[in-house]
Symmetry: C2
Subunit: 774 residues, 2 copies
């Protein structure tokens, strides 16, 4: 017997398990999947901003050979989609945006379906439109949703302390309005679904890219008048989600209705332009923020009012104030706070949820204010932030309990790595030197949930684990892979527990029929929740294995461990027996047994009360990002040179996955700050293509210095916290602060396109205005 020496997998750089197939082009996205008997769906859209539907004539489409079904709103149940149930899949009475779905066709080929859609004639009667969300609540404004005559979708009010009184105790107060623009997820994999309704069994199978398959079983059932138990959702590999797939959008029920009518499976896949037009956007917002501080540099209060442009329908995105208010109330110690938000209806594109979920918008305002206050107090912004940053153990006014907290470490480390304070001074000094190119450095920090978010009745995840006779493990987890690497980290956590190499594991995570429940991919929760669930199942397996080995080995289970594919003696690592041998001995005995376990992990977080207070996440994550930019004052072009990011990740699990996740988020934040701008004019998107909508591409990616703070969260898997959304959140604020450092000009209106910067440098940057309610 020899001793096994195997290093831990935790913290190692581990290649994504799905990477080889993706790189080799073997991955089958929904586009690549064909089911037998499949036909093709296509949607007819309104092409008008706001109009009454007077009549629809589908007869010519129906007569086209190869057409199997044509449907309009009159043919389908009238249940409405979305969090406010205000969105009919097919519109009956009126349309509210050019992308509105009026009719749909299923046909033998995509070409016939497209031709048939063109044969449908629709008579529409224009209604007065509403484009500016600030006018939505004006008396006499056009009404978008008849059930909401004031055009207000969702409204939130929050407060703690006494903000009004705190104003009086403030030595400095800053008050600004910030404006955030439209961006879209631009997933590389465009949306698509295959709907297969079986009339005989009344079962529905969906190949769907959803991020929340288990919630959608219930949701689809409501919309479609089906039994939720009879809905099976299979997720093909998903070419990007980023929050865009939290809602059910009309194309999915439409595909089902077509399948029901045609009695065939219907595949409906967007082209790129349709993906731009009919996908959600990040919620555009006006944010009025008012913040005070004492001359000693302590925050006194913060009040905020956010006006969100829903577009014509309410998606989950309209609930981003849940997150915005966390940043307003609890990023730094804020003794007094008030927050109001309204998501209003307009005829603009439909906004949805998007990685960061309101935090980019809130942080954009808050972190510019931190700089402005520091300037007003003549303090170093780093020092000002440190003076207000929380320590582990604090409980915020909103009731968030910061059991682990690496905030100050993030601030200090990001500042050190970037020489923030020195450079900042140098840049101010250099502003007046000759030459058009100025250099700036800017800092921003963020707070986000890092241990799930208890919104739904359960925030948990289930895992079933089985080990075969040769030591191969199958992990059936509710946690979906949407490209973020959850499959890999879950495999890693199980292998760590069972002392196995990653090649010994298969993760099954894409079929509601096989995998146990999970609330879905959102709130940066998958590593934390899905990881803990997987560890739980693995520990039960380990217990069973060591108990079985105990008799043979004449050792107590607690004196043994699993390492290197073997059962070993804990004291010295001596091999007791190979794992596969034990598994077979257990299986091939009189009282035969397999090692199959299951575990459900529910985090110890709580639901917020009606006042939005409570410890809604099992852990919280922080980050500080310092960016350096060059501003060409002749052209307004801002070049991002370098990002120094320090993230409190709890613990590094997969070094490579973490780097990929954070680098990707930084680049997404870079796009939000500088280049991505979905132009909307009178309800129409002007640039629905990758030619005109400017994503950041490889050459523009800055140098990125990543630092991970390991705050070792007590509840997280091996101490880890969620980080999925964090990296995108600070960028716009940090870049705005850097532009200010470079030029002395403050940007209130994202993104910082050359034109806007050029105008701002020439004094044409009027601050956005809004009538604030707070």
């Amino acid at each position: 017997m020899t001793a096994v020496e195997v290093d831990t997998l935790i913290g190692k750089p581990i290649r994504k398990l799905d990477a080889p197939d993706k790189v080799a082009g073997r991955t089958r996205y929904v586009q690549d999947i064909d089911v037998p008997g499949q036909i093709y769906g296509k949607i007819l859209r309104a092409g008008r901003v706001h109009a009454r539907i007077v009549g629809i004539d589908t007869s010519r489409a129906e007569a086209l050979p190869g057409v199997r079904a044509v449907i309009t709103g009159a043919d389908v149940p009238g249940h409405r989609l979305g969090v406010s149930q205000d969105h009919p899949a097919l519109k009956r009475d009126k349309v509210r945006t050019p992308r509105d779905e009026i009719a749909a066709v299923a046909a033998d080929t995509p070409e016939i379906a497209a031709a048939a859609v063109n044969l449908i004639s629709v008579e529409l009667e224009d209604l007065p439109p509403l484009f500016d969300p600030r006018e939505a609540r004006n008396p006499g404004a056009p009404v978008i949703q008849e059930a909401k005559p004031d055009n207000v979708g969702l409204e939130f009010d929050y407060d703690h302390g006494d903000a009004a009184a705190a104003e009086a105790a403030s030595d400095v107060i800053v008050d600004d309005v910030f404006k955030l623009h439209y961006v879209t997820h631009a997933c590389m994999g465009v949306s698509g679904v295959i709907a297969d309704y079986n009339h005989a069994t009344r079962k529905l199978t969906l190949h769907s890219n959803t991020q929340v398959p288990f919630l959608h079983k219930r949701e689809f059932a409501k919309i479609l008048d089906l039994d939720p138990a009879a809905i099976r959702i299979i997720q093909p590999p998903i070419g990007g989600g980023f929050g865009s797939k939290l809602d059910i959008y009309p194309f999915e029920p439409i595909a089902v209705f077509l399948s029901m009518k045609a009695r065939r499976p219907v595949k409906l896949v967007f082209d790129r332009e349709e993906e731009f037009v009919a996908s959600p956007t990040r919620q555009p917002a006006y944010v009025r923020l008012r913040t005070g501080a004492t001359k000693e540099g302590k925050l006194t209060f913060r009040t905020a009012d956010a006006l969100l442009d829903n577009g014509a329908y309410t998606s989950w995105g309209a609930t981003i104030p849940f997150v915005m208010m966390q940043t307003i109330s609890s990023l730094y110690r804020v003794p007094h706070c008030r927050f109001h938000s309204a998501a209003v209806y307009t005829n603009n594109p439909t906004a949805g949820s998007f990685r960061g979920y309101g935090n980019l918008q809130a942080t954009f305002a808050v972190e510019q204010h931190m700089d402005k206050l520091a300037d007003a107090l003549d303090m170093d912004p780093l020092e000002f932030r440190l003076a207000n940053a929380q320590d582990p153990g604090e409980v915020t006014g909103q009731g968030m309990q910061f059991k682990s907290c690496g905030f100050k470490d993030c601030l200090v480390l990001a500042a050190e790595r970037s020489a923030y304070s020195e450079r900042r001074g140098e840049n101010v000094d250099a502003r007046n030197r000759p030459g058009p190119v100025k250099r700036g450095i800017g800092m921003a920090s963020m707070l986000h949930v890092g241990g799930g978010a208890k919104i739904y009745p359960s925030d948990g995840c289930g895992t079933i684990l089985k080990i075969d006779d040769f030591g191969h493990v199958t992990i059936m987890t509710g946690a979906s892979e949407i490209g973020q690497g959850s499959e890999t980290v879950i495999a890693q956590l199980v292998c760590e527990e069972l002392g196995l190499p990653l090649s010994a594991v298969t993760v099954v995570n894409n079929d509601t029929e096989v995998t146990p429940w999970d609330v879905g991919v959102h709130a940066s929760r998958t590593t934390f929740i899905g990881g803990n669930a997987a560890i739980g199942a693995a520990r039960l397996a380990k217990e069973k294995i060591l108990t079985a080995a105990s008799t043979t080995a004449n050792l107590l289970p607690e004196n043994m461990d699993l390492l290197g594919g073997c059962i070993v003696r804990k004291s010295d690592g001596e091999v007791v027996m190979p794992l596969d041998k034990l598994l077979r001995a257990l299986h091939f005995q009189d009282k035969a047994e397999l090692v199959t376990t299951s575990y459900y992990y529910e985090p110890p977080s709580v639901h917020q009360d009606k006042a939005f207070k409570g410890d809604v996440s099992a852990a919280y994550a922080w980050a500080t990002q310092v960016v350096e930019v060059e501003v060409d004052t002749d052209t307004g072009i801002v070049t991002l040179l370098r990002v120094s990011a320090a993230h409190d990740v709890g613990r590094v699990l997969n070094q490579l996955g973490l780097e990929g996740q954070i680098e990707g988020g930084i680049v997404m934040g870079q796009g939000y700050a500088l280049t991505e701008d979905l132009l909307v004019s009178e309800g129409w998107m002007l640039n629905p293509s990758f030619r005109d909508y400017k994503l950041v591409t490889a050459p523009e990616i800055p140098d990125i210095d990543l630092q991970f703070i390991e705050s070792m969260d007590g509840e997280g898997p091996h101490g880890a916290k969620g980080v999925g959304e964090a990296p995108a959140i600070c960028m716009a604020a940090a870049v705005a602060n850097a532009i200010h450092n470079a030029t002395g000009v403050r940007m209130y209106d994202a993104p910082f396109t050359p034109e806007k910067v050029y105008r701002a440098l020439r004094g044409e940057n009027r601050q956005p205005t809004m009538r604030a309610r707070v």
Copy 2:
């Protein structure tokens, strides 16, 4: 609250869950499955009976555009397939049958692959052939397998009591040689595989029609030099198995080798002729049987020698003596018994395993002897059988324990339903009446394992069960569906346990990565073993549910039940609460839980000892079938009119499934007796097509009267036993007995084609001969 009244599902006629898709053409067999990047494999066969391979030139094939890989025996590991490891996937030195695999091609299209195969030139040098198995052991006979110079593959010897001494105590002895012919499974779905080897991960995914996926993981690993843990077997819906898919045949490893070389997934599907030529057959046999009885009508001894024609390679089929000896030793009380068998090598087609697994051959001999002995004793054959049939509780000379036994009930009921004894006498009386058409009635009975067969170290099956928030159940079972209806009966058993309708269940049973271990589909074991495993998992779920409901309901778990989708009070059926509500309450509480269970069922049977003794199955099944035929003495045509079948099935679970299974088996037995005859001449199949190989078709199916004896086995699921193989077993013997009843002529040589019957009626039926070793 109202009381729930729900009838049991047990014994009801339940439509197969997979039937609607099959009927509607929605089922995707391996033929219909395409994986991305797939190319197509084709095999070059020997086309010679016995020959040395002098040279192979593949250069022209390799040069053909579109060819991705060409392989010969020189390119692949030399491990051999099969139970005796005597079968190389690709032959290197010599070929032993015309179907022998010499080379294979993978190409972009099936057409290119076929063209490339034709471009391979092979130089062969003929060797002396061996066709008659009776000559295989002759000195100087051609040697087929060099490692076995005596041409004997597998040999079995069994005995109990003292058969030689018992001869002396016998008043009557009969001694005959019977001959059984070649038939093949003729599965409607021809063989095919998709092999996908990933060099990066060293993992192999097979879409394979195997009946024993878990055993094959290990088997493929040996053949292919792979880690068994890295082999995933996905079974597409299987278009018929019947035992033909217990072995790995060369085309499967060949597809893997092609995939390894071409670095692409390779699909290799047979056409119908190839299916005939390269599939296994039922083992053809010579059976010499010698049986004695006292004048009081008690059996005294039985000795048997079986000579099986392996063909050139040894498949599992060569182990059919395991089953043959059970019938020889234990169908009826046989106080003294001796059995010998040899499976010998020839240049004939390769025989394999086939539904009934030797029992058709053994029963053919034994049940004709029962009639012959009765005649010799001048007893009614029914009375003679009843006098020797076992009762519940008996243990046979071979150690089989008949805990439940409905044998006599089968005999009596089948005889009653057919008016056997009366008709038999009438037919004899009518023999000499004018007219060419004579009528006959014949009886045969059988004994078969009905509770698995402990051959492999475990004979068990695993089940994982999960219930979603809406009461939908997923059963992940190791038990494969090969068309026999196991999916449906397993669903039914779980629904019965959980008080749910069948629509509430999905069975997942086709992916080794997801499903727990099972030994495979053979030995009529799936309902018994897989059913008990499913019940075990369901009972654990029920226990969890009732325990959870207990607090809410203020009732002890044992005072509640699950019925009609509800938790009910046992005493009066009053609804306590709907099941889905309880499931959600359990899930959406602070200590959230899902209902997920797993269970492994291992039957209480034992391995046979070295003398082949022991209670190898947890239960045994009996059947008696009485057939009525018309024999046209002018033409020799035998028409099967009616079958009265009485089966001890333990308990009827799915009435419809049982009827289908037994009717199908009877028709298969009918083909074996009368029409199916795979003609082999000098090693070549003469009729490899459905035009020339005569399957029974609908118009020829007789009236079938089915009677089920419910012997309520103590270990079986709700008392049920396995019945998959039983119905095919008696038919040939019963028909032979009926022909004798009609004409006074005994048939020793199956099948009873018009020519053979015509000749027999004219005294030209010489009994087959063999040199018996017993």
